[in-house]
Amino acid sequence: MIAVTKCAFCGGDIKSNPDDLLLICPFCGTAQTVEGAKLKEHYMIRVHFDQNQSFTTLLDWVSKQLGVPGDLGSTAHLLKAEQIWYPFWVSRIDAQSSYKGLGRDATFSDEWPQYRGAYKRIDFFWKPESGEFSRNYEIKVPGVGAIDQDIKSMAIPTRAKEYFSHDHAEQYGGTLLHSQMSEDGAKAAAKQIALDRQTGLITQEISKIESRDDKVNIGETFLVHVPVWEIQYRYGNKSFKASVSASTGYVIESEYPRSAAFRAMGLGLGFVLLIIGAVLLAMGLGVLEIPFAPIQELVGAYVGGDLVAGGLLMAVALVFMYKGASRKQAKEKE
């Protein structure tokens, strides 16, 4: 279901899905509505890490993860690096909400003689309350819905923003994603988020809202495209995926390999510990007797110790086995 629209500025063909509401012309880079109206507030963050720098940074970063094979940095090779420009809408919203409603309060009676100031009875009642909350919010709404959660929630890098430059985006053969949200849609979404937060504040103060009046002022709203390297690399005979911020070199997330030795150790050690733990636990509970007298006498005599040590060992064993068996993803903390 790919539709073709003519760019209202250069006449080039823009391919888009029916969901896309704000289109970026792949030829001249102009952001425009489906009807051809230009969006002025269209920004970008510059690329500071090219394909190779991003891949090197990724491998260096991944190398410190638990159980990563030591030769990852030298033997992993890049299969594919695609630069994707993700659109985000950012709005500042000024919200002032006055409210009226019923809030909880209580009366206290029958003081405890042993504890001055503490009462045996509490009786809740409702009382009319009114007030006002004034807050300023900054709200970021991803322009596309079906993308990875970690990319959706990534912070816009603290780097200079610039007017969107198509030349710059093209320099690395980047793919520009259209926004599935129009400017009005983004403003409406941001307004709703701000109102929900105001509601959160009000319901902390009163339980039943009888009336409220919200004055919401949507400040400047802009669209910013943020470049991300979507990397696929191979180690051994498996391939792994990663997303690296092209402007800061941060690893948004990455899958990574674990060495066979690490897995074997995790699983093997975990298994041994699990058996020892289970035996200790069973002996502690008195459901198992070891036919070898010296051990039975030594270990069986300490019921409490057996139970505690057995339980702990089994817990540790499960952690080891999990680490050994799991396929991992890691994210860099911002």
């Binding site: 019921v303 040590a309 890691a330 911002e334």
Partner: protein, 342 residues
């Protein structure tokens, strides 16, 4: 086809008439020629201050000092760390004094010890009464106030955040600042960022933030908060350009980072590698923990079946300590790095 030239990229400095390249959403502009700072409409913003920054080498020294402090048993860390990124960036910060006064009302619950008597029958069939302590719930009405007067620095950029930001903002102190003068820092080749958030917006954000903090503080000790009213007053809003550095370094094939105050060269928060030797030590701690817990468990069990008392309590305490040691040891064993404050 190229992008059409955007007139808004250039701002004419109202003081020296210079053409200043600006970001599209910049609200407060610092002239790159004469350093004068105005709003985008050309209005004065009052004091424009900055914190002085230190050079590349001093920053590296500060970084090595941080590594030295946290190297633990890893003697090779300070020499072996190889800095791959050490960029100085001046971030725009708004700061002001926010005086806030809250009045709140709610209640909390306490356990009230009550002496009770009960009749018990002993093994010979005699009955006797004994007293014991029971705990009953008491409701305590609370009505109190919170007063604060604090500095509230906030980053004046939209939608952005960086590693160590919260710790960094805490270090900002107007006492360390000087009047903004680009000449004094230009040799350091810093990246300068203008503010995207104006003073009015900042003041609202700061008041809201303090009010929310008061509410959270009021709520923390209570079972329920009925009412909380806060009034805030913002004064002395000041614009400040503050130096920050992100340092990334390689050690043992891995990549680590730390956030530095570019004024003092002190690392605020950073990542420290864990070596194989250190992992072995933590594993040892975990094993020791299991032994301690087991011995404790044995004492607790024996205490319990003979006569509950101090032996049992000591046993339980040892078990808990042992479990904590094990959890800590295994946790660190599994971590890719430690995070340490400077």
């Amino acid at each position: 086809m190229g992008t059409e030239a955007q007139a808004a990229d250039i701002f004419k400095c109202p003081v020296c008439n210079g053409n200043v390249r600006i970001g599209p959403d910049d609200m407060v502009i610092t002239c790159s020629y004469c350093g004068s700072t105005t709003t985008i409409e050309g209005k004065a913003i009052g004091d424009h201050l900055m914190e002085m920054a230190i050079g590349d080498r001093e920053r590296t020294d500060g970084f090595r000092a941080y590594l030295g402090k946290h190297k633990g048993a890893n003697k090779a860390l300070v020499q072996g760390a190889q800095v791959v990124e050490n960029n100085l960036i001046f971030v725009p910060v708004w700061t002001s004094k926010v005086k806030a006064d809250s009045w709140y009302k709610g209640y909390k619950t306490v356990q009230v010890p009550v002496q009770r008597t009960r009749t018990v029958r002993d093994s010979q069939g005699h009955t006797r009464t004994e007293t014991y302590t029971a705990y009953e719930t008491g409701y305590v009405p609370v009505q109190s106030e919170i007063h604060s007067d604090t500095d509230e620095p906030l980053l004046a950029r939209k939608g952005s955040r960086f590693y160590g930001l919260e710790d960094y903002l805490k270090t900002i102190d107007l006492k360390d600042t000087v009047r903004y003068d680009f000449e004094k820092i230009k040799d350091l080749k810093p990246t300068m960022l203008n503010a995207e958030i104006g003073a009015d917006e900042y003041e609202k954000s700061a008041s809201g933030q303090v009010a929310d903090r008061h509410r959270a503080q009021a709520k923390s000790g209570l079972s329920e908060l009925f009412d909380c009213r806060t009034t805030t007053a913002v004064r002395g809003t000041t614009y400040l350009q503050a130096p920050f550095a992100l340092i990334r370094y390689k050690f043992g094939g891995g990549l680590f980072k730390c956030a530095m105050d570019g004024h003092t060269g002190r690392v605020l928060v950073g990542e420290i590698p864990i070596t194989k030797g250190q992992r072995a030590l933590w594993t040892l701690l975990a094993i020791l923990g299991i032994i301690v817990a087991a011995v404790g468990g044995e004492f607790a069990y024996r205490g319990y079946i003979t006569e509950p008392g101090s032996v049992m309590i000591a046993g339980i305490a040892a078990t808990v300590v042992g479990i904590i040691m094990t959890v800590l040891g295994i946790r660190i064993l599994m971590m890719p790095q430690r995070e340490e404050k400077g």
